[in-house]
Amino acid sequence: MKRILYISLFVFLLSACAPKPSGPQTLTVMTHDSFAVSENVVQAFEQANNAKVTFIKSGDTGAALNKAILTKDAPLADVFYGVDNTFLSRALDADIYEPYDSPALKNIPAEFQLDPSRRALPVDYGDVCINYDKAYFASRNLPIPQSLEDLTKPEYKGLLVVENPATSSPGLAFLLATVKHFGDPNYLGYWKDLRANGLVVVDGWETAYYTNFSGSSGKGPQPMVVSYGTSPAAEVMFAQTPLSDSPTASIIGPDTCFRQIEFVGILKGTQRRALAEKFVDFALGAQFQADMPAQMFVYPVAPNITLPDAFVKYSQTAPQPAAISPADIAANRDAWIQNWTDAVLR
């Protein structure tokens, strides 16, 4: 009896040491908190590649990236999804990606391909714009501001809420739009004018949108908020009762919007390079690209993707969004934020 026990124990140990049969490989994808995807889309990838995909959400874009940089010697994941152009240079300087010249890139417009070394591959984009509460302006016969300059006019005193660029990604994007429009250091004068005109600053998007913005369900006091060009579409898609029109819209003027482009890349040191390549191809492919608008409220970078109805009707993209090169952003971000803090908060 005892011998059987020993033998079975021995066999068990042996089997534990033996190479594993080709079960599904696990691919770990590190990303930010806003990442979302449909279940069936992930399943399609898993089935096609005999794989299991695990996601790690690590805070907002900046926090997630910093955690990836911190662990680059022993990476927590195989793929990192969601570095945007405001953080791109930091990611590239820290050298966390392996280059991958995906065949899918040839379909993607050149304007999105900001990294010629093919380490960070564009995957989605969206505009940070000022949303306004339609009913507020209509009921007071107040014209909608058409430009950044308009926002300093006395009739808009106390009507705008923005996020702190030191703690919020849309807040930083809007700051960058003003830097692009007015130049450095003139943007500081503009912000001082905004401050004199009753500008409200809060820490993050959730507070700005749900506590301060009057167009959201939080019914706050300010009818204008720095949010996304797709937020009006989200208001319709997530309405509690079906709405015939969006309660909000975006202000589209010269440099009023800043375009955020998100990137995906294979993390250096991955043990699953082949599977990671498949995932990147998949993320740039039609199925995933068509899924992301309704999941993450961003636009696909791939052309000819059918968008949800609400996107076509209510969400806007700026014809000429403000743009600053990632290298410029990396070189000046901290100084811009610090000077902004001194001008607006102190």
Binding site: S38, Y209, S214
Partner: protein, 569 residues
Amino acid sequence: MTLFPRHVDAKTRRHNFLRAFAPAWLKCPLLWFLPLLFLGVFFFLPLFKILAFTFDLSALTTSNLQLAFRVLLFTFYQALLSTFLTLLAGLPSAYLFARYDFRGKSLLRALTAVPFMLPTVVVAAGFNALLGPRGWVSVIFPLSSFQFTGTLGAILLAHIFYNTTIVIRIVGNALSRFDPKLEQAARSLGADSRRAWWNVTLPLLRPPLLAAALLVFLFDFTSFGVILLLGGPRFATLEVEIYIQALQLFNLPLAALLSLIQLLSTLAFSALYTRLVTRTTVQSAPRSAESNVRKAGSLREKIFVASFIFLLSSFFILPMLALPLRSISRLDANRADRAQIQTGFIPDYYTELFINRRDSIFYVPPVRAAFNSLGYAGATVLLSLLLGFPAASALAKPGRLEKILDPILMLPLGASAVTLGLGFIIAFGRLLTSPFLVPLAHTLIALPFVIRTLQSSIASIPDRLRQAAASLGASPFRVWQTVDWPILRRATLSASIFAFTISLGEFGATALLSRPEYPTIPVAIYRFLSQPGGLNYGQAMAMATLLMALTTVGILLIEKLRLPGAGEF
């Protein structure tokens, strides 16, 4: 009490043997072994790794030190002020719950503990519904155009709202254990009630009072969400600055410097507490809580009881009432005439919680999120009691070792959560996604509470009771069971409630450590609030209401729980 041994069996003899031959110097390290092992692996190791990795002498520039000093000053100032105000609100409340009997008492007491675990976003929403620009107060008093969010007042009010329960639990627990004969003796010697309170009760209350003050102070000192959400970007505590420096600006050396300052401050405050408290612990004959409780008699007492019930109810319940109300209100119909007060009540947000409308891979039905939360909370309670009991027993009779270890045990409360989170990433790498790390992280935060709650209780048990039992032949376990346990029952309940609520409400560590497929309720709330749309907002409010209900029921159940062997005496 059943202290009489029927016969000395083998088990008891073994206990006696242990008692005789395990010397005192060995007993203490034995008690310390588990708690210190736990802290070593899950606190000091990650903290040391991240600080060693990121700290750099180049961070010691004049401008950095100036920034650090400025932030430290504000952090200290607001924490001191908040603690003082919290004690001011908490002491009479503790007295109310410890001494008076009134209808709805256990519900009210449970409700005062609910804010402790509410996510900051939800509390901010509640306060805004009450005091914000379109809140109820400005509807009732249309002339008052005061600014609430973005002020120091908002920070202080939120800190009182969060932490009063600490004072109520810890001080109230001690008050209800008091021997009323001491006060009666003072009265019979001619002291009026005020003098008896100042000269007898208050000095006896010093240890629990100091313990509560320290815990409240440390919570305020490391405050993060309240400062960001209610204080706004004009205010920054050390923790907020660490977050900005480490995760947004990626200035890790400066973040490490700030973390060190925060750690050393915590150590200094805790050491000060240890010095103050060891001089003053008094052993007194314990009383059952029931014998101290009575109905309000005189008119003055009745006024005190009624007015405090009113104050507590309005302060704690009104901001929380906003959430359930919003969770069933029609929020986005007819936006054109939004100025009118809407009266439609709907269950839609609750039913919507059960629909995976977007077929998202991260969708989790509310029941599952609740189970995740409860599972983590249950594990946290067990684990923190398991580690807290030996540590608290060792601390109750402080030797030289204990005087050193005592402040160190408080460190997890004062350590920067951001820094510790990064430390976890470096120290544990791919283990990070293991589901066991969440209750372990919660236990780190809960352990100081559990230890403080148990320690003052254990210390107050007179040795002569134990000696009497032992001399009658009771084994150490029997002594513990018949003497210590009945006295510790209440403290154990309090400790469990702390651990339970801390775990239920914890967000930062959970968001970092939990797999996206297994979110807790707070994580689910944040997820809803991260996208626009009436349904998302309504579901967040519905989820917050569920969390409040769950906590209230949980606390009531724990309080009603008849723990085994808990004979009243």
